[in-house]
Subunit: 656 residues, 2 copies
């Protein structure tokens, strides 16, 4: 078989990106570019498991040609510039390849397009609020007249110089204490976790001791982490100031083993499946830790080992999988978690690559399908402290809903399915570069116009775009209230396609991949079911406490998806209740923000446990109430149009 | 090179010893029997590191012949029966080999000749005294109307049914709780450690949950362990009854890396040395756990994983090495340990192969050279509770001495060297089969007679035999008070040998190895230094508290070596003070017995910490007092004969 020369040149992760000396390897025809890279010792990220979906393995071909099996996540201009997915590129001749700096690949992609602006709580007083404390101690060196052991010496100094009684040393500390005290010349800073979650009255635990001179140059670091089913987000935090030093996000490495929590749980049934999922998500988090630390320009540089505390939010399945706890019972009736309120463990026990004796707090959840991400959302959005009757929604693969105020909180989860994340929809995609995120249809010509993430030609439609599309097709009469395509319309964009009737959103020549982007009857059905599930969730929740939906004084929408929803259109399709728009607020990733607040403040830490305990969980599948509400909501906007007066008025105007 | 067939037949570890089908392998001339065994997949114990010293690899040759490089630990009758050390046997022809059951090899050897008879403390009340408790709980299974998570369900049952508040679950428990509760049909027994050493007020920690039906059939098990520099001893204990179910002892696997603590510490300076020593001693302990469990005939059989608590005694160096704590500072001025009072850790953290969440209590020590073995000895012997002024001695490579009563305790350590363990003496050996353990010399003919451990011809002289020998040669005038061999004696047994003047104890034809067993001038010197160090220790300790030695009301001697000392002769050589013999008592292995008491009783657990804290450590190298006392004691029995009136009277009688 013919052999080809593949030459890799790696650009450094630094401004300007200076190249390292190139490496050349020889591979047979038909090899993947990833295989050649591995041979050349070039590290290529493949969080999606070489499935050609995440785009992280993007390399740049500068000479020669490769055959592209897939170009997902690459724009035509990217492709023109030679960018290719290494896991989807087949070598058929000699090629020269540039390995771009990781930073560059990330800018190219759009996972991290939302860098949150985080405000440090004005009241943050690290001495008061932070559970992690550091104290600097001067120890008297031993001599023949004072042969006290090292640990007793440290313990005495903690008691006498810092008033700390009976601190507990991890075994690792005792393994290091002798050399550490001597290297520090008996002048050390002890870092302690003063209180753990399930044992507030236990003595403080020493995480580590450092030479006092080193401790002075480094801030105490913490990490707030949200493990989403799709995306993992991490904020690196200076615990001394409360400031977020850097942010990083990445697809959850488990994606290639299942798109939603149910398929992940099913995957754990395979031999070694649970262990594999645990390893995959730990790798994702540990990669983000590395990246977030690298992004902070500090002297001396900081590393994940300097991080002494992490708080982790996520849905119940994500936290079970992370901790290696079987999740099977979450999926099966009667839907039981092993644990909702996880005690504090050390990073070493969990497998998190921060300081091995650093503390890991997994935030508390409520039930199998209302997890710590929702408790964190409530904490972040302040639903539990407001006087106003508030509806909090986190729309994702599952829609979790909380209704309440400082007086009471009820919650439920409805399985919306992944339609709003672009799955189960023919031309659906995630909210990344090339996705139509908002659109309008001319009610006379039925011609669409749209906005594409990152500009350029569209490749597909993301969640917010789909809501727009459904609303516009409904209002313009392309789709009727039952969700049927109006076949009577004599326009080229309405046609019978492979999957039945469809509306052509983008013609092939205007799309980035050269194919029609369409909106099919099946897509409409899937979206209808998703929105009906969420709307039925509100309804049942409101009914369960005897509150008419229109008494809701504010609607807070969490999740990074929520940030891009057009309220007007979401109401038009009956996804959100018909309330004045000014009652709506979009909060972004409330899960990681809740984790951040919990990381900083011991009061927030207590508060989120209270929130989780206070929320009354309504099980929607317990009787027929939800089913009936769901069936009524399977129309545009709803069987009972009187619930949507603003939509009724638009439709009336249109007719007249 | 010629190949030979080696056939192995393994006898089962059962009464009768039925053979398994034989395995034959082919090996080249000159191979070791251990190499052939490895090839045949036959497991052969080699705790001494294939150095031909421990005898654990003994196999029986039934056909053909091998060349024996060494026959240490085998008697002539053993050899006649075909027993051979696999690590010292060279294959030069076809052979058939029987692999005896491990039990048989042990009976053959003598490491375990002392099986202690252990009396359960009459006051033992497990409900009151034992820190490990079990409670049986009936949980209500979850359903759609009660979706409480598993852990909260267990926690609630603990609170409501057993009055246990806020128990803490190890992560492993949460990883198993779902399947465990369901398999047990919600009827479980929880095993808890109700209090740890450094956090008596912390909530109880759950070690595990078992189906209640399984827990009923098994006792709670604990292990009391003494890690000696030479020998590791383990007692397996039924925590419900307090009874010792079985005992096991084995050479410390570290022996091949250094005979005494100092050479072990030096070995840790090598690359990976500390890790290696940790692994070696853990292997020894874990082997003993297996063996002790196997020895208990129980249905269902018990395994090390059923052991939920261990207490470990040992000198400070042994405990540091076990825990992976650097021991370097113990060896170097000013002789500092990293830790004397180790907190409770889990077996998983320590690497002990009992239940991974079982508790491990390392007993507290006092100083670098007065370790937990001595605290345990004081607890075991009751020095801290008696009204009598008591001298407690543990004679080993180091002599540790405690003087005191319920009112006060002082302690010191003197480096006696390994002479009393048979090292540094030409024909010295450990107290195993073939060792002369006691002897007498006819004062007219200078002819010796002796008692040999296990009967048969002698191979060497163990510690108690050496004390006997030194005393007898001194009293009969073969050795003078300065330790010189009386060269004027015109008998064949006194002669000039390779190492100067010597006394022939056993002629070649009467020894098991066909060589003379002699007692040289150098041997005498080494023994003199050893006994002088210990006697000087008493002296300094007594002086430090202003108590003349003859006011000592009882002398308690610990260590399995001590059990075999002849008091009369030990006084004659000036090793022990000249007190009436009835003040002496021999206690055997007080270290493992102290560990046993601590394992059973939370009060003993508190008491041993109090003992360690109460003991005032006298550093002998701090000034010249010890040196002067040592120099004065370098005579037989002492420069100042008036300190030994009983010896003076013997010598006087002899002269007249």
């Amino acid at each position: 078989m013919a052999e080809h020369q593949v030459t890799f040149t790696t650009l450094e992760d630094s401004p300007g990106g200076q190249p390292a000396p190139p490496t050349t390897v020889s591979v047979p025809t038909g090899s993947l570019l990833t295989e050649a890279a591995k041979l050349a010792g070039v590290e290529v990220n493949q969080p999606c498991g070489a499935q050609g979906r995440c785009g992280r393995c993007t390399l740049q071909i500068t000479e020669g040609d490769i055959r592209r099996r897939s170009t997902v996540r690459l724009s035509p201009s990217d492709i023109a510039e030679g960018y290719a997915l290494a896991c989807q590129s087949i070598i058929e001749g000699d090629v020269s390849v540039i390995v771009p700096p990781q930073e560059k690949i990330e800018r190219l992609l759009t996972t991290e397009r939302t860098v949150a602006e985080v405000v440090v709580p004005a009241t943050y007083e690290p001495q008061q609020d932070q559970t992690i404390q550091k104290v600097t101690l001067h120890l008297t060196p031993p001599d023949m007249s004072d042969q006290t052991d090292d640990w007793s010496r440290l313990k005495t100094a903690l008691r006498k110089q810092a008033g700390i009684q009976d601190a507990l040393p991890p075994l690792r500390l005792l393994r290091n204490i002798g050399p550490q005290l001597r290297e520090a010349d008996w002048h050390v800073t002890a870092v302690l976790d003063t209180t753990t979650w399930d044992c507030p009255d236990c003595p403080p635990r020493i995480i580590d001791i450092l030479p006092a001179s080193v401790a002075e140059t480094k801030p105490l670091l913490g990490a707030a982490i949200d493990i989403g089913t799709t995306t993992v987000t991490l904020w690196l935090v200076n615990l001394d100031s409360g400031k977020v030093l850097s942010q990083a996000a990445e697809y959850n490495g488990q994606i290639s083993r299942g798109e939603d929590v149910i398929s992940r749980i099913i995957f754990t049934g395979k031999d070694g499946g649970a262990e594999e999922l645990k390893t995959l998500v730990l790798e994702t988090v540990n990669t983000l830790l590395e990246r977030a630390c690298k992004r902070v320009k500090a002297d001396p540089p900081i590393s994940p080992q300097d991080v002494v505390k992490a708080t982790i939010a996520g849905n119940s399945t994500m936290l079970h999988l992370l901790l290696g706890i079987p999740a099977e019972s979450i999926r099966l009736m009667p839907f039981i978690t092993s644990v909702n309120q996880v005690p504090t463990y050390t990073a070493g026990e969990v497998g998190l690559n921060i300081h091995p004796d650093g503390s890991v707090d997994c935030l508390p959840g409520v039930a199998s399908y209302v997890g710590a991400d929702i408790s964190a959302g409530v904490l972040s959005s302040g639903v539990d402290e407001t006087d106003q009757i508030t509806l909090f929604i986190d729309v994702g693969t599952n829609g979790e809903i909380v209704l309440g105020s400082r007086e009471w909180l009820v919650t439920c989860a409805c399985s919306a399915g992944p339609a709003f994340e672009g799955a189960g929809v023919r031309d659906g995609m995630r909210a990344t570069k090339g996705a139509i995120e908002e659109m309008w249809i001319n009610s006379d010509t039925y011609e669409p116009s749209f906005r594409v993430i990152g500009g350029g030609k569209p490749r597909g439609i993301c969640g917010s775009g789909l809501i727009s599309l459904l609303a516009e097709t409904f209002i313009t009469g392309i789709v009727d209230k039952g969700g049927n395509i109006n076949t009577a319309l004599d326009i080229p964009r309405v046609r019978k396609g492979e999957h039945g009737w469809e509306y052509v959103v983008v013609w092939a020549e205007e799309s980035s991949h050269g194919q029609d982007i369409t909106f099919t009857h099946v897509d409409v059905d899937n979206l209808l079911r998703a929105k009906a599930a969420i709307y039925a969730g509100f309804t049942v929740l409101a009914e369960s406490v005897g509150i008419p939906l229109d008494l809701v004084e504010q609607v807070l929408i969490g999740g990074s998806f929520g940030k891009y929803i057009n309220v007007e259109k979401a109401i038009e399709i009956g996804l959100l209740p018909d309330l004045p728009w000014d009652r709506y607020e979009f909060l972004g990733n409330t899960s990681v923000h809740g984790a951040y607040l919990t990381l900083l403040d011991r009061n927030a830490r207590q508060q989120i446990r209270d929130i989780a305990s206070r929320m009354t969980y309504i099980e929607l599948s317990a009787d027929n109430t939800f089913y009936n509400a769901f069936m009524s909501a399977l129309f545009l906007p709803h069987t009972d149009l009187s619930r949507f007066p603003s939509v009724e008025s638009i439709l009336t105007k249109k007719k007249t």
